[in-house]
């Protein structure tokens, strides 16, 4: 009996050691980013490299704002991400509600066609969307990046899965009270879907915040650029001399999604769990 227990303890210890090592390795690049972003410009490549801040040369953080339109990049990124999330949420929750709760004709067919959209690679639609955007004069506009992201089949799938778990009795009670579909959607289904709404919003926010290909093909003016593409251009400007400024930019670009994730983590996990993948 004792032997079994100590064997289990050793195994548990090894498990913890492995996981701690792995987690350290996962977080180490961020430590390097932060410590190097706080170094003197000439010492970016100082050896031995340190994973903890040695200097506190915060000028890099000021320089990235004063030498480059970094504040504009951030504003653009926030504007694009927030607008995308709101529009996407409208499209996604309405569709999710229809698929989950309204027994209309052709429901499964439409749903399958929509899901098949997940197989269509972004490049396949991007060229044609670009042609249309260029005809509409939207090349160089943030709308060219926002609009195509308003539809996301995977989000609709998650929301539908979640809404299917809401008991029908709530709706029936509202029906008897004379509520219509719109009222049920707004007053019952949406408030009960908080966790899946937070989850898809976070996923879409991050997807938008990360979007690289869209800004790459549509945006060429400094004033219009979002963070990922702006940083990429910055990298070209800085060469290999001082990377402290770029890394300051990288650190700032990481802060917002991190904060949002930490704030929404509880609902995020709940939404993920409840919209489970058993279909």
């Amino acid at each position: 009996m004792l032997k079994v227990k100590s064997g289990r303890n050793i195994r548990g210890l090894i498990l913890h050691l492995l996981l701690m090592l792995l987690c350290t390795l996962m977080l180490l690049p961020f430590c390097w980013v932060i410590s190097t972003s706080l170094r003197l410009p000439g010492e970016s490549f100082k050896v031995p490299p340190s994973f903890f801040p040695t200097d506190f040369y915060y000028r890099n953080y000021l320089d990235v704002f004063s030498k480059f339109p970094f504040a504009r990049f951030m504003m653009n990124s926030i504007l694009v991400a927030v607008t995308t999330v709101i529009l996407n949420l409208l499209v996604t929750t309405m569709a999710g509600y229809a698929f989950a709760r309204i027994p209309f004709k052709g429901r499964n067919t439409v749903f399958m066609i929509l899901l098949a959209g997940m197989m269509i690679p972004a490049q396949a639609t991007m060229i044609l969307v670009y042609v249309v955007m260029s005809k509409l004069g939207l090349v160089g506009s943030l709308w060219a990046i926002i609009l195509p992201a308003t539809i996301n089949p995977l989000s609709i799938f998650f929301v539908r899965q979640f809404m299917m778990t809401i008991p029908g009795s709530y709706e029936e009670a509202a029906y008897i009270d004379g509520a219509g579909r719109v009222q049920i959607y707004l007053k019952i289904i949406l408030p009960m879907s908080k966790s899946v709404i937070v989850m898809t919003s976070l996923l879409n926010f991050m997807a938008s915040w990360n979007n690289f290909m869209g800004p790459l093909i549509y945006l060429s003016d400094w004033d219009q650029m979002t963070l990922p593409i702006g940083l990429r251009v910055l990298q070209g400007y800085m060469g290999t001399g001082s990377i402290g400024v770029i890394l300051a930019g990288v650190a700032i670009s990481i802060i917002i999604p991190t904060f949002l994730y930490l704030a929404g983590q509880k609902y995020f996990m709940q939404g993920m769990t409840l919209s489970g993948l058993k279909s």
Partner: protein, 306 residues
């Protein structure tokens, strides 16, 4: 009788109302789907038969683009590179994510569990382009941080980004670090959703850890595994940012993927028609691979175990 007729008509009325309501609620999704996914997909097949440069009107050239496609050496190179990435990255994510999820979910302490989960998932939420820039610095041959430690340990500089083989290992490491969180989280949640009774029953029967894993966990997780494999293959087919930012397709054309090539053709060289053909060919391959997977899943995927 009269009563009965009335209920039928009420029922039919409700059915008709449901049909209308259903499609009204779907309207935004259908419109955006047609505008940004379905419509462009079909139109891009059409535009494959044209020469088009966005300025002059499209000129019908029949199968010219297709003939070019068949003999274009860049097509072969970029598809070959994409398949190399598939062979490396799909197992890395689908198996690596599963192992990590299994390890983390067997941690007893719920606080440590969420710390581990958070650390593994964290790189997934940060901006890909930003951290890809960081990796290009970390893995530099002469000034990179990684090679500094390699030298300290008595080794010589490793050509992380300049050797045709090493560069795949470097990108695989990046991809693991950056994206393992996605597969990991799906598996982790799948594991949480397996009812405890199965494990209890196995324990009573005296099953060992490995036996439990292969006989209970894997079969009950098969639908999640299937989902992860399908979505992972689709996303690796589109791999673009990693080679674009970390290696710029290099060294030479060693990491030039099909997405990279489509970007060059359609947006750098503005050969819109040919770009559409390339993009459509990727879609057809993804479609075929996905259909094969769905046909094969009946043999190993179980749904509805509760």
């Amino acid at each position: 009788m009269k009563e009965n007729k009335k209920t039928v008509s009420v029922f039919q009325k409700k059915k008709r109302a449901d049909n209308i309501a259903g499609y009204l609620f779907l309207l935004p999704a259908i419109v955006t789907f047609l505008l940004f996914i379905g419509g462009p997909m079909i139109l891009s097949l059409g535009l494959s038969f044209f020469d088009y440069n966005l300025i002059q009107p499209p000129e019908f050239t029949g199968l010219k683009n297709l003939r070019k496609f068949l003999i274009d050496p860049q097509v072969r190179v970029s598809f070959a590179n994409t398949f190399k990435f598939l062979l490396i990255l799909v197992p890395v994510h689908c198996i690596g994510g599963l192992i990590l999820a299994f390890m983390v979910s067997s941690v007893r302490s719920s606080r440590l569990k969420s710390v581990y989960r958070g650390a593994i998932y964290f790189p997934t939420i940060v901006t890909t382009a930003s951290v890809a820039i960081v990796w290009a610095y970390l893995f530099g041959t002469d000034t990179g941080v990684i090679n500094y430690f390699v030298r300290q340990l008595g080794g010589t500089n490793i050509p992380w980004l300049t050797n045709k083989v090493m560069v795949y290992i470097t990108i695989a490491l990046f991809s693991f670090w950056k994206f393992i969180g996605t597969a990991f989280l799906y598996y982790f949640i799948g594991l949480q959703n397996i009812p405890d009774v199965y494990y209890e029953a196995a324990r009573i029967d005296g099953a060992g850890t490995l036996q439990v894993f292969f006989r209970i966990t894997l079969p009950l997780l098969s639908s999640t595994i299937f989902f992860v494999i399908v979505t992972n293959i689709i996303s690796v087919f589109q791999i673009f940012e990693e080679p674009f930012i970390i290696t710029n397709g290099g060294p030479g054309t060693a990491t030039k993927t099909i997405s990279f090539y489509i970007y060059e053709i359609a947006f750098k060289q503005v050969k819109t028609g040919y770009g559409c053909l390339l993009a459509f060919s990727v879609f057809l391959i993804i479609l075929a691979v996905t259909i094969i997977q769905f046909a094969g899943q009946k043999k190993w995927v179980t749904y509805d175990y509760e």
